[in-house]
């Protein structure tokens, strides 16, 4: 089941999207506060 290539590609797309979202939340908070502080 996990060796299904199209499913694996779908898994990767979802994971990359979620990871980018998490990174964006993390960075946006810090950058926003940084800009506000300088």
């Amino acid at each position: 089941m996990t060796s299904d290539p199209s499913r694996n590609q779908g898994n990767r797309r979802i994971a990359i999207g979620l990871a980018l979202f998490a990174a964006a939340v993390f960075l946006s908070y810090i950058i926003r506060q940084w800009m506000g502080n300088t």
Partner: protein
């Protein structure tokens, strides 16, 4: 309830002999969701004992007025580590353990979507736990700020604070990776025919929880990173001396912290939504409304954070908004409670240990929810802020809510995991001792709070002595009765009556179609999804 078996599992023989590592290598290198689930559960139990021991130090100190056993600084460190360990080390990993064990089996997947990342998610936890607990021994001791890590104290403390910050970073990475795994698994690995609205509710609660984690954990990571740069790199995000604002930290922390409450509560709701129908021998009442309630709770949890901050000087309009928004959460939560009660209505009820813990959850969590509504009211909260009323409230939610539900899940699924039935008599003893001692420990704390006893202090005025003695007796009774779990689980793993594939005749779902104990590999080919096993 008698064991009945009608297994539709036409799948695979056990692949244990396929040459995967044995001994310690099996556990370090495993990518199997069942192994990783077991490791999460054992880890959480160990941390539960460590955090529990810390709470007993706190209660021992509070047994009588005056300073008896520990210094005020050490007391603060104990309450901080107790909270951090219980939230991040015990309760969250326990539900991740359930998720690892059960989600692939519930949706008919062979494993989690990213099996190796799953291994890494788990193995990040022990270093974080070591960082947290070892920080007691460094100069200056552990963080003594409370789990909220508020500045200015968190900017001033010694290197124990840095260790706590790094531990939070590591735990956050673990949670985010685990959540990505869970979302991907649920969205993309369900067996054909299992639409989202036919999916078991435990999976729904975890889907929403995982999104909450992915959206809120980076915020905590950002907050503690800014704390770290304030401490060591000359920034002044939260330092008033440099033009920063300590209250800003509170906003950021609680923007994470309130969803965190539901990150803990939602999977607990999921477990109870399986246990109550099984022991009522009825389908869950209002499945669709349950799903929408879960989503609504998850969404609203991001818009209520400042109800933790009524006394920080936020404007009156802000207080009013956060008060009404917080009260709004009672609506979907009420929907869930009424649905559980309605599921039991005219059901063929039996009261095995999982059902007892689910009912204990239902009664006590509702009390915790109601005191939450009391605290949501700004005018009342200004009186009760930082009193023992708040401590009582969140222990009714966290212990009687999350922990009781975790026990319901443990006893419910233990036969599936081990292939043996647990000792029902000991299980009932465990429930009743927990139920009685929990209430002795925490109910008097409502009165202490109403009388004005502040939280997070090692000493108190004479008039609070009586209720503190009662609370202390309850805490020690509750703490020691939890050792029964260890006895019961070890007994069940080692032997006992054989469990059928469906040991509870009212239980439905794909997980009950595989043999007990569940084979090392399950559903390598997507199983047939029978309408009889559907939840929606």
């Amino acid at each position: 309830m008698q064991a009945t078996s009608h297994t539709g599992y036409a799948g695979h023989h056990d692949h244990d002999s396929h040459g995967h590592p044995t001994g310690w290598k099996r556990w370090v290198t495993t990518t199997n969701h069942k192994d990783i689930g077991s490791m999460y559960l054992w880890f959480s139990f160990v941390m539960f004992l460590v955090g529990g021991a810390m709470s007993l130090i706190i209660r021992a100190e509070l047994f009588t007025p005056g300073l008896q056993y520990v210094s005020p600084e050490f007391y603060n460190q104990m309450l901080t580590l107790h909270a951090l360990i219980m939230v991040f080390g015990a309760i969250m990993p326990a539900f991740v353990g359930f998720a690892n064990w059960m989600i692939p089996m519930m949706i008919g997947a062979s494993d989690m979507a990213f099996a190796r990342m799953n291994n890494w998610s788990f193995w990040l936890l022990p270093p974080a736990a070591i960082l947290l607990t070892a920080s007691i021994f460094v100069p200056g001791g552990a963080a003594g700020t409370g789990w909220t890590l508020y500045p200015p104290l968190s900017i001033q403390m010694g290197m124990g604070m840095d260790m706590a910050i790094f531990a939070v970073h590591i735990l956050g990475m673990s949670s985010i990776m685990g959540s990505i795994n869970i979302v991907t698994t649920i969205l993309n690995m369900r067996t054909p025919g299992m639409t989202l609205m036919k999916m078991p509710l435990f999976c729904w609660t975890w889907l929403v929880t995982a999104f909450l984690l992915i959206a809120s954990m980076p915020i905590l990571a950002g907050a503690v990173t800014m704390l770290l740069t304030d401490r060591h790199f000359g920034t002044s995000f939260f330092s008033a001396a440099g033009g920063g604002d300590p209250v800003l930290f509170q906003h950021i922390f609680w923007f994470f912290g309130h969803p965190e409450v539901y990150i803990i509560a939602l999977p607990a709701f999921g477990v109870v939504s399986h246990v109550i129908p099984a022991f009522s021998r009825k389908p869950l009442f209002g499945y669709v409304s349950m799903v929408y309630a879960i989503a609504a709770i998850g969404l609203i949890s991001f818009f209520v954070w400042a109800h933790h901050m009524y006394v920080t000087g936020i404007p009156l309009t802000g207080q009013l908004y956060f008060m009404y928004a917080t009260m709004l959460i009672a609506v979907p939560t009420g929907v869930k409670v009424f649905n559980w009660v309605t599921t039991m209505w005219r059901g063929s009820l039996t009261f095995e240990t999982p059902m007892l813990f689910a009912l204990g959850f239902l009664v006590l969590f509702t009390i915790g929810g109601l005191t939450g509504l009391v605290l949501a009211m700004t005018a009342v909260d200004i009186q009760l802020q930082d009193t023992y009323y708040v401590v009582a409230h969140f222990h009714y939610v966290m212990v009687a809510g999350a922990l009781f539900s975790a026990y319901a899940g443990l006893y419910f699924w233990l036969p599936k995991w081990t292939g043996h039935m647990y000792n029902e008599t000991l299980g009932k003893w465990h429930f009743w001792l927990s139920m009685i001692f929990f209430n002795i420990a925490f109910f008097p704390q409502h009165f202490l709070g109403l009388a004005g006893m502040p939280r997070r202090i090692p000493d108190y005025a004479q008039q609070f002595a009586d209720f503190n003695v009662i609370s202390g007796i309850g805490a020690f009774g509750f703490g020691f009765s939890q050792l029964l779990v260890l006895v019961i689980v070890v007994q069940t793993v080692r032997g006992g009556a054989r469990a059928a594939s469906r040991p509870w005749d009212g239980a439905h779902g794909l997980e009950w179609t595989v043999p007990s104990p569940a084979p090392y590999h399950t559903f390598e080919d997507p199983p047939h999804f029978d309408q009889a096993e559907a939840h929606g």
